[in-house]
Point group: C2
Chain length 442, copies 2
């Protein structure tokens, strides 16, 4: 089956190491990659070599996880990391997550648009709400209700976009001879005042080559859909199977239509983790090694695996290097509480050892594809041709060699199959994504 | 007269062009320097060649001035500009102004400390309050009273410093072999809740080579002195003469003592604008050219000059290329409203034309030194040996060649006279400034 449409790729920059909690300990990894900006720049350069549409940084303003044994999950600061990448790359898009709940719209508008101008139109803002109570506490606040957070998000995005548009497109005249720096008749206050946020403007920043940054969205539920349909050109989603991805994509497209937009102007980008080997066994070995470096997490993971398939599993009662006993498996069923359960049960029924079921990543945050470059490409082709996604946010297990392997080994297969572009279509993130130029509010 | 002590130098990065409103039109200047990060990086590299202790970015979150004929006075975004400089320089300190009034302490703490770690301990935060009503409106707020703003500033700085110290110094163990990323017993919440700001913490950022960023202060009055004495290692001040500089320096030092600190641990850094020529006449020509490119501003400047010396001056009534008539000058007196008035009158009495009095910069925001490299060095020597300042924030009239001239022509004279260091004393901004290592609140 051939397709005219090409899939889009985002490289998720985790925190310099890769997404697996023990990646920081892997041979070859710079243990201090967290604070070493080179690690982010090198990953982005490699992704640009692979013609990725964008790098993407997730963020929650909180010290996430337990750093006793795990590395942080986000860079020290997403905008500073992207600024370094902007200076040292040419084409790749630069998308950062920042909260609409705990930032002033003026500050958001200013920093994102400055980066967009500096990078010649390559920036996107993943506009999320912050529900994490520990994050709220970092701002001296109680967690807000979902309704309040989304009301704030609407105000924030509207104000930010209006500030972005506060210099009309011809405003920066820069007429050295005539002495006119800017046409002040085309630079206007926005005078927006909502219940939570307000701003008079204007911003002191001219348009970028793509007008203004691209809006992304990542929240779920009815409110997330509405926010996406209203403003977003891209949605980062976390489906575990084709069916739910297709449902999410349809819902997002319908939401865009409800807000008077072309459904093709909003792209669903699904996250998955990849572990590449020259054979499937080698890819699994890589994951087994990661697990053995995080051995303290294994008891909890085994217990949780049990809960996913309705069995009481424990490292004390059984050898995890053995399959789950057939007698036990007869009582197993996939938990309806966790969409990853059917996959876990499928692997258990194949007779994999408990360790190997876990090595397959059945309880990772994203689907895990562990296998050869062809297997990774097959996974992507299947989802893409099923119209379940417009692209992928690919998440390296271990960044230092994972990204390179993806670019050198998986990308050529996708290109060969006609699923992925051979080169950038343009200069800006909007051109890369095939979404319309936008200036000011939609 | 010889001195053991050396003066410190900060280069003020204005907006890529230099401080004069028409600098963007000068031959040789990149008219788009405002949005071209190269302009900031090149200035900082040149300053580093001159062993400057730091670059300094002032900021107010508002579109300042009338851009019809004038360039903006601040970069698009100070932190992004400094991030580029951090990646492309090795030693020079990096100081940005950000408001304590319109930023969450957690966001301030995070971005400044991330940059401090990335730059290996070269960052400073000029912690100001924002009184500008137009800036307040950009945040949907009414201007706050002075009392409220300073109360907020105290809370903000205390929370930011506590967050900076929330990883104890040995917390980042990074033990690959043993598998310990960090010692969580040394990473603690701060649990500070004030009237305006609060944060639980901890921040997800380890110490930098200088512990944490250096605090600067720039506000005046009793509240500003108190803030400086409590927290600041450096104060950016704008005195117009040696006497008032010395008074400000003494007041700041006394304030530090009142808060139990060593007065030598707080440095007064005074701003001045330089215009360098191979003769004084050539330096004035440079300023005359800048004025002629801002000719629309001349009528107002002439009127204001008149007000400074008690005379009704106007471009309609007189030839500005001529001295003020002797008869008129007999009635002149320096206005007590403006500390720059005595200097204006002094030049008028010397018989300078009105144009040349203005060309000398008598109504610029900072003192202007227009002359040969030796004259610039003389000015600096006089202030420094009078113990009026610990250093200078030097402000280029036109950045593209002004900074280079200062570094190549003025710096060697200062070094020759033993007034300025030959090389960096260390690696961090604290070492450059000779202020103590600090971690967490004072």
């Amino acid at each position: 089956m051939k397709t005219e449409k090409k899939m889009q790729l985002a490289l998720q920059l985790v925190s310099g190491y890769g997404v697996e909690s023990s990646a920081w300990r892997m041979p070859g990894t710079d243990p201090a990659a967290y604070t070493n900006t080179d690690s982010y720049v090198e990953m982005a350069k490699m992704a640009e070599k692979g013609k990725f549409q964008m790098v993407f940084i997730a963020d929650t303003p909180v010290l996430g996880g337990d750093l006793r044994r795990q590395s942080p999950t986000f860079p020290m600061d997403p905008m500073l990391a992207l600024m370094a990448v902007a200076r040292e790359t040419e084409r790749i898009g630069l998308v950062a997550t920042l909260s609409t709940t705990f930032n002033y719209p003026y500050n958001l508008a200013r920093q994102f648009k400055a980066l967009d101008v500096i990078s010649h139109g390559r920036v996107g803002w993943n506009a999320v709400t912050t529900s994490n109570p520990a994050a709220a506490a970092n701002f001296g606040a109680q967690p807000l209700s979902r309704k309040e957070r989304y009301a704030m998000a609407h105000e924030s995005i509207q104000i930010v976009q209006a500030l972005w548009g506060s210099w009309e497109e011809g405003a920066w005249t820069l007429d050295v001879e005539g002495g006119q720096f800017a046409d002040m008749d085309k630079i206007k206050p926005i005078n927006l005042q909502g219940h939570y946020h307000g701003s008079r403007g204007p911003l002191a920043i001219p348009p970028s080559e793509q007008g203004q940054p691209v809006i992304f969205q990542a929240g779920g539920g009815y409110e997330g859909l509405e926010l996406a349909g209203s403003y977003a050109s891209g949605v980062y989603a976390n489906p575990y199977d084709i069916e739910s991805a297709r449902e999410q994509r349809q819902a997002i497209r319908q939401s865009a239509v409800r807000f008077g937009r072309n459904p093709d102007d909003i792209k669903l980008i699904a996250g998955f983790i990849f572990s590449i080997g020259s054979t499937e066994e080698e890819a699994l070995d890589r994951r087994r090694q990661l697990m053995s470096l995080a051995s303290d997490e294994i008891p909890d993971r085994v217990r949780y695996l049990g809960a996913m398939i309705g069995l009481a599993l424990s490292v004390d009662a059984m050898d995890i290097n053995e399959p789950i006993p057939t007698e036990m498996l007869k009582r197993a069923y996939p938990s309806p509480q966790d969409p990853r359960s059917p996959r876990a049960l499928e692997l258990a029924l194949k007779g994999l050892s408990i360790r190997d079921i876990l090595a397959h990543g059945v309880i990772n945050y994203h689907p895990v594809v562990a296998g050869t470059p062809t297997q990774v490409a097959d996974f992507m082709e299947e989802w893409f041709l099923a119209e379940a996604v417009d692209g992928f946010s690919v998440v390296p297990d271990i960044a230092f060699d994972g990204v390179e392997d993806f670019v050198n080994l998986v990308v050529p297969i996708l290109q060969e199959r006609g699923l992925y572009h051979e080169d950038y279509e343009g200069e800006t993130l909007r051109e890369h994504m095939g979404v319309p130029y936008q200036y000011g509010p939609l």
